[in-house]
């Protein structure tokens, strides 16, 4: 995509950002990102009052462990894929289902700019919700004294979450421009296939995003390649595909 094509993408970005923030999916995003914060608060209050001690395999669970577990399980295995599926599949598919895509297709901008602008709006929106949520959970769960020591870990986890949002979002944007009802397939992929493949022996786990998020050393490059390839394929698909809207 050349320079002049980025300007229309920026205009679509503005339009899409407003729709995402005030659209029907905003509530879902707020609930999904807000839940771990509430959970962390409850745990924190429980620890502070001394009314409960968490013992796992004979070991007392500290707040540091709670944070790392929250990030790796709640965020990377649930929230990030859920937002990726929910938003990624809807970026174009919702406009097609609502038949509002017509208004964008009859403007002097390439269809690829529509995909790019909407994807960037999703990235900004999702990161603006998920990363502060994770940071707040960190602030709640980790004692002030340990924060400095664990700050590097926090930044790494935030980086993983951002990478996950980018990769899942790109994959499901491609699904959204390619299939009529991509949401169900997307949910099966992240909560069926990915969960299953990760526990299977052999190379099947390499066909998941979650695997590369767990192995950040090499995973970063693979996931960035996935993002570029999926968005490129989405642009190609929307430029060449006919969308027949039912009357």
């Amino acid at each position: 995509m050349n320079g002049p094509a980025l300007k229309p993408a920026a205009r679509i970005f503005e339009l899409a950002l407003g729709q995402m923030l005030w659209g029907r999916r905003a509530l879902f995003m707020a609930v999904v990102a807000g839940a771990p914060v509430v959970l962390a608060l409850i745990l924190r209050l429980t620890f502070a009052s001394g009314s409960a001690v968490f013992i796992v395999n004979g070991n007392r669970v500290d707040t540091e462990s709670i944070f790392t577990t929250a990030v790796s399980v709640l965020y990377l295995r649930f929230i990030v894929p859920a937002l990726g599926v929910y938003y990624g599949t809807s970026l174009i598919a919702d406009e097609i289902e609502d038949k509002t895509i017509t208004y964008l297709f009859v403007r002097p901008i390439s269809r690829g700019a529509i995909v790019l602008g909407k994807y960037l709006a999703y990235l900004v929106c999702a990161n603006a919700v998920v990363l502060p949520s994770a940071a707040i959970v960190f602030a709640i769960a980790v004692p002030v004294a340990g924060m400095g020591r664990l700050l590097e870990m926090l930044l790494q986890e935030l980086g993983r979450a951002a990478l996950g949002l980018a990769a899942y979002g790109a994959l499901f944007t491609l699904a959204g421009v390619s299939f009529k009802r991509p949401l169900v397939g997307g949910l099966i992929f992240v909560f069926g296939w990915e969960q299953m493949a990760l526990v299977l022996p052999g190379y099947l786990r390499r066909l998941t995003v979650a695997y590369y998020l767990q192995t950040p050393e090499t995973g970063v490059f693979v996931l960035l390649a996935v993002v570029v390839a999926a968005i490129g394929a989405s642009i190609w698909t929307i430029e060449h595909r006919e969308y027949v809207l039912q009357q």
Binding site: K7, P8, R11, I12, E14, L15, G18, Q19, W22, G23, D98, K99, T100, T102, Y103, L104, F105, V106, R107, P108, I109, S110, R111, E239, E242, Y243, V244, L245, Q247
Partner: protein, 305 residues
Amino acid sequence: MIVTTEHLSKWYGHVSGLNDVSVTVGEGVTGLLGPNGAGKSTFMKIVTGQLRPSTGTLRVFGEPIWGHPEQYQRLGFCPEQDAFYEQMTALAWIAAMARLHGMDQDTADAAARRALATVDMLDVAERKIGSYSKGMRQRVKLAQAIVHDPQLLVLDEPLNGMDPIMRRRTIRLIRDWGREGRSVIVSSHILHEIESMTSTVLLIHNGRVVAEGDIHQIRGLIDAHPHQVSIRAQDPQAVARHLLGGDEVTSVRFEEGVVVVETAKPDAFYTRLTRLAASGEAGPIEEIASPDDTLQAVFSYLVKS
């Protein structure tokens, strides 16, 4: 010529949407007339580059349009579907559409206000689209089509759901656009509507253009068939009482909040209905619609002959 097609066909799988259509459209208003499912929307979607022809060629301003988005700088489209970004205000939405034509924010705002003023919607421009009546939504759709002052306007059933007064205003607006030298392609399944905008028509049936040219040639045929008009009003009984007095009304019946009138003189009837709506004597008239039975009968006759 603004639009030229040669042996244009469109297939949806095994179903034919458009079949061997060769037409030219120049400046002024051209009516695309045909029953529902005749192929009008398919033709318009191909002309506006949303669909690709299966066979044949299409030229808009002498160039292909599929995959040539720069063409939309000179083309405005008002789709049939009642689809909107419901949470946005009309002003914000139309300004956002204008921005996609390369305008900066101030220019886009000014263009949006101009377009909304043209369709008499400026006073409610800052209300959310979701709160609009069907007729207001139709006008907002028209506004987004003209916001960039296009040379070619393609309007798919633009009068659907409008009240009689707004219908009359919109018809005048479309006529004016044609007189200004724009090319306007407007579809309808109601002959009376098309006739009040233009005398140049393309008659389309089962995906084929069955006739093109002057509308008066089929006028006699249409008059031979009774014409039905469905009127949604707050007080359908009052509307019926007022209309029954005229000799142009053949019969009246009621169906779930609407009064359905049959007339053999549609011109006289519509004139009277518009007067009645303007006077308010029978209360507010919310929507008028015409089933396409009449047109279907005329087309069946044309195809057989």
